[in-house]
């Protein structure tokens, strides 16, 4: 049983990397996890999602403004991208970069579209990670 679970966790983890959801930063987080902080990775991910929620809201509001303040949007997205890099959210980061390109081009529609992608990737990753942590926790107990 345990071994099965462990295999499951391992393959889940591998998939996250293989499918491009996570990058090396996630491994760094795992390396930092130790006896002093046994749930370090999960803590960081939780922090990320909590912290970035506000930023997401800000971007949403800014997108609704007319005329679009691209500079502000770019600034927000820059911050958000920085946050995404903390957990190694690879796909999310990619969308962020795309978003910023649209900002630079002054393409409001492109920004809005890409932002939806950002949110989608965020949600997907969150789901996957939650499942992953859940199962990983079970292997420990």
């Amino acid at each position: 049983m345990d071994r099965n679970l462990q295999r499951q966790v391992a393959s889940m983890r591998k998939a996250l990397f293989d499918q491009g959801y996570l990058d090396e930063q996630f491994i760094q987080l795992e390396d930092l996890q130790d006896d002093a902080n046994p749930n370090f990775v999960e803590e960081i991910v939780t922090l990320f999602y909590t912290d970035s929620a506000k930023l997401i809201r800000n971007i949403e509001n800014a997108l609704e403004n007319n005329p679009t303040d691209f500079e502000r949007l770019d600034d927000y997205m820059h911050q958000f991208k920085s946050r995404s890099s903390s957990i190694g959210a690879k796909k999310v980061k990619t969308e962020c970069t795309q978003f910023r390109e649209y900002c630079n081009a002054g393409n409001a529609e492109g920004c809005t579209r890409t932002f939806q992608q950002v949110k989608q990737e965020l949600a997907t990753l969150k789901r996957k990670l939650e499942t992953y942590f859940e199962i990983a926790r079970q292997t420990c107990t």
Partner: protein, 604 residues
């Protein structure tokens, strides 16, 4: 405590390196904290730049290095970087997810010692101690270079003085190294050749930068938009908006002129030029909205002081006098309020014509500018008025008023500055209450680094320059920051250090500054008129040495023998101190002088 670098347990360095991490990203903050702890560093985290600055100021010498993100909501990372660099002179590492060359370049331009890209790897953090180490090394070299210069200058001012100083320094040196350096240099008879002195690459220390800013501001003084500009500059610390005029003003300022004003012998025009470029960049990135509300208040006050400071100054003066030793310290006469107060009136009455020691108040450029012209009444308002505290606000600046004012400007300046700068509190009154509480660390550094300023300015600029130069803290931002601390604590903290470093001849900076200032002041005193300041080295020295009416302010004040005023005023330089001692000064010079110097250094 200094970082482990200077601790006896050097073998454990870099373990225990005290790092301050500033990032609004909580996740990164946590990650970096964990990583740094794994490197055996002592970590403090902060998610707000403002908080970080407060923390740094609070815990002076409490950190070895700062790591900060570039993009932060409450303050631009580059801004923080500059503040830290200027105020605390700590190495700062910038980090960002954005690795664009332009950004990285900006970081370097603003003084970052490194620029890390997020996601940051642990191995990148392991070696950050090198920046701390490097800085320490350079500081030592820088000090040595400056000391050498100062020694040379000392020699130029007369061998007796040097001898006095030399013998005196034997007991006063706080650093054996310095003594050794001095002695060896002394023996080398190298003095006449600055270029032969050991000179490290030019490190723009806080001290040096302040001199630079002072010089820049002084030039700006002469320009019309200086008033507003300087306030803006000064208030930049408080992030008040920046007048576009300032940029224009800066365009007029030339490195040569700045170099001349700085009077740092070993500095070259090229050094100044490149630094000016950086400074321009720094200024250019300050917020440009013309929100003069904050700045305006300050400006107003300064204008007020400059135009009709008497009334306000009177108020301020009383406030000043109510200040603790800091105030008197500023006066450089003594740390005693009463003395200062007494002195004020006397000074006023005395023949202070010559005294033009106008403290350099960044924010009060306008006033200071006026100060050099004694004939113009109320020019030196802010300065003098303050110091005169109880003294009638309506001090006629006439002849002696302005000099008087100027003299006190030493004290006043810092006070005034603080007032304006302190937490964007434009009330001059409050400013006084915020006498500089220089953190011991920067303070010490200031003193050590205080360059020798050979002040021989034209009369009109003399006092200003002297005072300005004497005050290491040139830029408003810098000085204000430092000074806005609770002066009580810092002041006290500074005193002991002062005694050890300030008065040692090795501590050229301060001493020199004082000497220079005093010389100029003395000269005026001697001349007993508002006539221009001639170069004041030889004559003043002679006068001082003779002890003929050459008493330090401290002595003067202490004894309240203000009859000598003109001569005794502001003669508080190490040289003079020694002379004073020779001439039977009664008060302990150290206690007297230190506060002065201390104040002088940090106040302005």
């Amino acid at each position: 405590m200094e970082g482990s670098f200077s601790s006896p347990r050097t073998d454990s360095f870099p373990a225990g390196l005290r790092v301050l991490v500033v990032d609004d990203d909580l996740a990164w903050l946590r990650i970096l904290e964990k990583m740094l702890k794994k490197c055996s560093y002592e970590v403090t985290t902060c998610c707000l730049a403002r908080e970080a600055l407060d923390l740094l100021r609070e815990r002076k010498d409490g950190f070895d290095i700062v790591i900060s993100d570039v993009n932060m909501p409450d303050m631009d990372g580059f801004r923080l970087l500059e503040h830290v660099g200027l105020e605390m002179d700590l190495p700062v590492i910038m980090m960002s997810v954005d690795g664009e060359t332009s950004r990285v370049m900006r970081g370097v331009q603003h003084g970052a010692c490194d620029y890390l890209l997020k996601p940051i790897r642990m191995k990148e953090l392991r070696n950050i101690w090198q920046h701390v180490f490097r800085k320490r090394i350079h500081e030592v070299r820088d000090i040595e270079g400056q000391e050498c210069m100062e020694e040379i200058q000392m020699m130029r001012h007369g061998s007796e003085l040097s001898d006095e100083w030399h013998s005196f320094s034997g007991g006063e040196l706080n650093s054996g190294k310095k003594r050794k350096d001095f002695e060896s240099k002394h023996d080398d008879k190298d003095f006449g050749d600055p270029s032969s002195s050991k000179k490290a690459r030019v490190v723009w220390t806080v001290d040096l930068h302040q001199k630079f800013v002072r010089a820049v501001n002084q030039i700006g003084f002469d320009s019309e938009f200086t008033k507003t500009c300087f306030f803006d500059v000064v208030c930049s610390y408080h992030e008040t908006e920046f007048s576009d005029d300032f940029h224009l003003y800066l365009a007029e300022v030339g490195p040569k002129k700045i170099l001349d004003l700085m009077s740092v012998p070993w500095l070259t025009r090229e050094n100044v030029a490149s630094h000016l470029q950086k400074y321009r960049l720094y200024l250019s990135r300050l917020p440009k909205d013309n929100d003069l509300k904050a700045a305006f208040g300050v400006i107003k006050q300064s204008d007020l002081s400059s135009q009709d400071s008497h009334g306000s100054l009177g108020l301020q003066n009383s406030l000043n006098t109510q200040q603790t030793d800091a105030a008197s310290g500023i006066y450089g006469i003594s740390g005693n309020k009463p003395i200062t107060q007494n002195a004020n009136p006397k000074f006023c009455e005395g023949d202070l014509k010559g005294i033009v020691s106008v403290p350099l108040i960044e924010s009060k450029k306008a006033t200071i500018h006026d100060i050099p012209d004694p004939p113009k009444a109320s020019s030196s308002r802010t300065g003098p008025n303050h110091t005169f505290g109880p003294l009638e606000p309506d001090v006629k600046y006439g002849r002696f008023d302005s000099p008087v004012g100027k003299q006190y400007s030493w004290c006043d300046v810092p006070q005034i500055q603080f007032k304006q700068e302190h937490k964007v509190n434009l009330q001059i009154d409050n400013g006084f209450n915020h006498l500089p509480s220089v953190s011991s660390r920067p303070f010490t550094r200031e003193r050590e680094k205080l360059g020798y300023m050979d002040i021989k300015p034209p009369y009109t600029k003399c006092s200003n320059q002297q005072i300005r130069q004497a005050i290491p803290i040139g830029s408003g931002a810098n000085s204000f920051h430092v000074q806005s601390e609770s002066h009580a604590t810092s002041y006290q903290a500074a005193e002991p250090t002062l005694s050890t470093t300030t008065w040692s001849m090795k501590n050229h900076g301060l001493s020199q500054i004082f000497i220079n200032n005093m010389e100029a002041a003395q000269r005026n005193l001697i001349l007993g008129s508002n006539s221009g300041f001639a170069s004041v080295d030889g004559d003043l020295l002679a006068c001082l040495l003779q002890g003929d009416r050459c008493t330090t302010n401290v002595e003067l004040l202490n004894k309240e023998s203000l009859n000598h005023n003109s001569q005794d005023l502001f003669v508080e330089t190490p040289a003079y101190v020694y002379d004073a001692q020779r001439f039977d000064y009664e008060y302990p010079l150290e206690t007297m002088e230190y506060p002065v110097i201390d104040q002088g250094l940090f106040i302005v």
